[in-house]
């Protein structure tokens, strides 16, 4: 008999989140690849073809919405993975490279979200991109990388086609590469063809969740983008809300600097934290710091949401 216990506490439970990310990536690649058959990468035809995918293509509605919900899910999973690595202190030598790969993977996934939402050329998403650009402009290193690749923070046809190339080809290949590097770090005995049916069960469960979400809460596509009319409320993805909060309440130059320092601190965590690799829950002080950190992130996120 299948029981929840058997599925979740399956032999690979040590790498549960990583495997869920892999399966989610599979779903994203499949739905994204199928939508490429109909999507026309141009600023004028982008919206039209997206509407065509949603309305006229058989099952296109489901593919679009599963892709949308899968993107949010995969971001939740990668953030959970980062928290897991901090919680169990898995970043200690000789595994510091694992930590860096995970962090790069998080950046890649958020960048994939950013490039993906421009493609439908839909008004809410368009302004979301504008708002994210506004945040990106202030962050010292990221903004020069961005302007090298996409120019002067203006959306035009060249930027649009670049976003398309990055979203559908370059970022996925980098993600697969880094995910492969993370999977290379797994203990060999845990990887066995006898566990494949567990992966299939997990695939079915995740697909079911995404399908349910996309039926119950489909993305309501609104008008075509209007570059000269801002909607009353511009929403941001959940993982950017704390950053948005910082952006609003800190002066321009300090915001970028603080954000960069925070990022660098997270990046070089394995070399900063040289203590014994004891899981956080065994040490009361680090447990309280960790929970304070998480509460702070949640609170800033909630405040950021109300300030949108």
């Amino acid at each position: 008999m299948l029981s929840l216990n058997k599925i979740i506490f399956f032999p690979l439970k040590k790498y549960f989140i990583e495997i869920l990310i892999l399966i989610n990536l599979l779903i994203q690649s499949l739905t994204g690849f199928l939508m490429l058959f109909y999507y026309i990468p141009s600023m004028e035809k982008g919206y039209e073809s997206t509407i065509f995918i949603i309305r006229d293509v058989p099952l296109g509605y489901y593919f679009f919405n599963i892709h949308f919900w899968g993107a949010i899910f995969i971001l939740i999973l990668i953030i959970l993975l980062i928290f897991k690595i901090i919680f169990y202190k898995l970043y200690h030598p000789p595994k510091e490279i694992l930590w860096i790969f995970t962090f790069i993977l998080f950046l890649l996934f958020s960048f994939a979200y950013f490039t993906g939402i421009l493609l439908p050329m839909e008004n809410n998403f368009y302004w979301q991109v504008e708002r994210i650009m506004e945040i990106l402009k202030e962050i010292p290193v990221l903004n020069s990388i961005y302007s090298f690749l996409f120019g002067n923070f203006i959306i035009n046809k060249f930027v649009h086609i670049r976003f398309y190339i990055f979203h559908s080809f370059l970022i996925p290949s980098f993600i697969i590469f880094f995910l492969f590097l993370i999977f290379l770090n797994f203990e060999r005995e845990k990887i066995s063809p006898f566990y494949l049916h567990y992966l299939f069960i997990l695939f079915l469960i995740l697909f079911g969740i995404l399908l349910t979400l996309s039926i119950l809460f489909p993305f309501k596509i609104s008008e075509i983008y209007e570059p000269f009319k801002t909607p009353k409320k511009i929403y941001l993805p959940f993982f950017l809300l704390p950053i948005y909060f910082l952006k609003i309440y800190l002066p321009k130059k300090i915001f970028g600097l603080i954000f960069l320092i925070l990022n660098l601190l997270i990046f070089i965590l394995p070399w900063v934290d040289k203590r014994e690799p004891v899981p956080i829950y065994k040490n009361k002080i680090s447990l309280s710091i960790f929970s304070l950190f998480i509460i702070l992130i949640f609170l800033t996120g909630i405040f950021g949401f109300f300030k949108l």
Partner: protein, 140 residues
């Protein structure tokens, strides 16, 4: 240095410069070209300004710098239509003679100074030139 070492060194340098050139040429191809300068002129002519009455404004949907052309008693004034807070597109409020931001409720006066809300920097003002009945706005 022996001859063998020297030859090996030259070989490495050749291969290295090859790789550098290869990567460099790819990167220079990928680097975003400077299109904006060609696409946008420094001076734009504004059409349909004759129909404006005093106190009315015309929104100019310029892709790089959207702006309002406002007719005041002294003449034309050109003010940026982009909020200095988070770059929302502003709305001209004819009744109260002010400029409103739809995002966070900021209010600017007709000189571009912030009166209410989060922005602290005034709106950018552009020079307006009138030549033989035509109105030009000087960007930059």
């Amino acid at each position: 240095m022996k001859r063998r070492d020297f030859l090996a060194w030259i070989f490495k340098v050749t291969i290295g410069s090859w790789i550098l050139g290869f990567v460099g040429s790819i990167l220079s191809f990928i680097k975003f070209p400077k299109i904006e300068k060609e696409e946008f002129e420094k001076e734009i002519e504004i059409k349909g300004h004759e129909n404006l009455k005093t106190g009315e404004a015309k929104f100019i949907p310029h892709l790089k710098e959207p702006l309002f052309l406002i007719k005041t008693e002294k003449g034309f004034v050109a003010i940026s239509a982009v909020c200095t807070h988070l770059k929302c597109i502003l709305e001209y409020n004819f009744e109260n003679k002010r400029i409103d931001c739809p995002c966070h409720g900021a209010i600017f006066d007709l000189n571009g100074n912030p009166i209410e809300g989060p922005p602290k920097i005034p709106l950018k003002r552009y020079e307006v030139k009138e030549r033989s009945g035509k109105v030009y706005v000087v960007l930059e």
